[in-house]
Symmetry: C2
Subunit: 328 residues, 2 copies
């Protein structure tokens, strides 16, 4: 690999001049510029990003910290983010936290040591205090942390209400909820949305709420217990699509027909919804847009641009599949 010095020698100028044409700043005579460009071409010179980072204290790299990339929601997000970064000459570092605070913090340390320019994080454990102490541009995605931390998310509460309302509208009389882990903010919000819609119903029963913990098999098991105990449940609102998959599995296994016997609605709108049969009705987040916005927001922050609404909330929209009774 040739260095800036090699180029300088080849072009018979100083390294400063080469640097100037490289970065397009300062005065450079047109002829000199051409000479340098030719030398760069000839040596196939590529500036050393590390040396540049050291001086500039920035690495053109951002980190994405998610609980687990195997959860199908996150690859979709990651893809959107990577696309934006790629178009802006940034690079993406991927981190799996397993919702584990220690791991998150360890990643943060590494990020700072590597001059990572910013981070996009999906977390339920980190405090605003810790984050601000670290003093690195950050965007929380999917799960807002605090008003002081820029975030990109959706209206989980309203969305959950809409989901339950839709189940009611198509005629469901007893609606259960498979909720995500306690203390995950959006799982809580969705749960609250469900609750607000059903708590005053005469049929409402606290046993209709089960915990799926973002795990398909666990959800399937819990659902089987639920459905065999309460045979009159005719609607289920799953806290996300991944868990809805578990409900679908449980129902199929038990010979409960979806949507004839049981209507199922999920949340998220991951691609998988369209690939199952029946296709899962869901409250769809604009997932790609979410990732895109988070990335753009972060890049703006890094480049010191004003970020108008630092708390971006997108709307979810009902995406009717085949897992809910047809309205007539």
């Amino acid at each position: 690999m040739s260095t800036i010095k090699d180029v300088a020698n080849e072009a018979n100028v100083s390294v400063a001049t080469v640097s100037r044409v490289l970065n397009n700043n300062g005065y450079v005579n047109e002829d000199t510029r051409k000479k340098v460009l030719k030398a760069i071409e000839k040596l196939d010179y590529k500036p050393n990003a590390v040396a540049r980072s050291l001086f500039k204290k920035q690495s053109k790299t951002i980190a994405l910290i998610v609980p687990d990339i195997k959860n199908p929601f996150f690859p979709e997000i990651a893809r959107a983010i990577e696309d934006v970064l790629n178009n802006n000459d940034y690079t993406l570092i991927l981190c799996n936290s397993d919702e584990h605070e220690d791991k998150e913090k360890k990643y943060f340390d590494v990020m700072k040591q590597k001059y990572v320019d910013g981070v996009i994080i999906v977390t339920s454990t980190l405090t605003p205090n810790y984050i601000e102490k670290n003093n690195i541009p950050i965007v929380s995605l999917d799960r807002p942390i605090h008003q002081s931390i820029p975030s990109v998310s959706v209206n989980n509460y309203e969305g959950a209400k809409e989901a339950v309302q839709y189940l009611k509208k198509i005629g469901c009389k007893k609606i259960a909820h498979v909720r995500g882990p306690v203390s995950v903010i959006n799982a809580d919000e969705r749960y609250k949305g469900y609750l607000s819609e059903v708590c005053n119903e005469p049929w409402f029963n606290k046993d209709y709420i089960i915990n799926g913990n973002y795990n398909v098999l666990e959800t399937a098991k819990a659902t089987m217990v639920l459905l065999s105990k309460h045979r009159d449940i005719d609607g289920i609102f799953a806290g996300n699509d991944y868990m809805a998959l578990g409900v679908l599995k449980a129902a199929t296994q038990m010979g409960i027909r979806i949507p004839q016997d049981l209507s199922l609605i999920g949340f998220d709108g991951i691609q998988l919804c369209e690939l199952t049969s029946p296709e899962i009705t869901t409250m769809a987040q604009p997932i790609y847009e979410l990732g895109e916005s988070a990335a753009k927001l972060l890049l703006d922050m890094i480049e010191g641009k004003a970020v108008n609404p630092a708390q971006q909330e997108f709307k979810v929209s009902l995406k009717i599949g085949q897992s809910t009774k047809v309205l007539r």
Copy 2:
């Protein structure tokens, strides 16, 4: 952030001494070491990874280039790799190539500029020549490129044969194949494996081979055409699980019962297989192990260790689900 100089000042020693205790090399008096350690503690000093990189010409970072992280096979691989790296103080950069040579090459350039220590790549387009020219430790994953390039993969040909053999064993009389994209080496191998098992069968018909292009919806469509034309097909070997999902969808939509009317077997063993109903029978790759091995192999290469079998081939194993008729 404090620097090595701050620590040196605090401890009243030179930066060289601090560096020595940091890296545990050279002579350092025990008392001095303690002084330095205390200063490090007091200042919460973390060495600057970029400065270190510049001198050492290595970044403790490796890149993973996959076609598209949204394909559920890759997050599982990525997760395994990230785990290994994390345990070895390496960081993972994620790149989506979309099978596009230009993008792959662009990533390579960036990697070299950032002193990325090695790359794990899933590619069908890069030539051994180009790769060797780049002179950066590399492991090809899932799709071997050439004997000269270390790789981690499975016995696709044999696996495909086994899959078809199993379909025969359970009594399938007419077996179709949904193949992956032409020129993807493992899709070709699986296709050949299928062919070798069926080409001499009296019933064999070239029309039984359709192309799913790693796309679920496309596969579903093509499968519907296939199945409505050839109503006597009673077994399908899908080139991977993701496409098997498409077959499942098509069959369900057409009212064809799986496994009663049609047996379906996939390839890969992604987690999704267990989450559908019926669960998909598949020739399972040891996915996590694959990623793990690729990462370990690459780290060994980076650290200059001899890599015994630089071409690692794992075995796939039949994982019986519910999408194939029960053998009795």
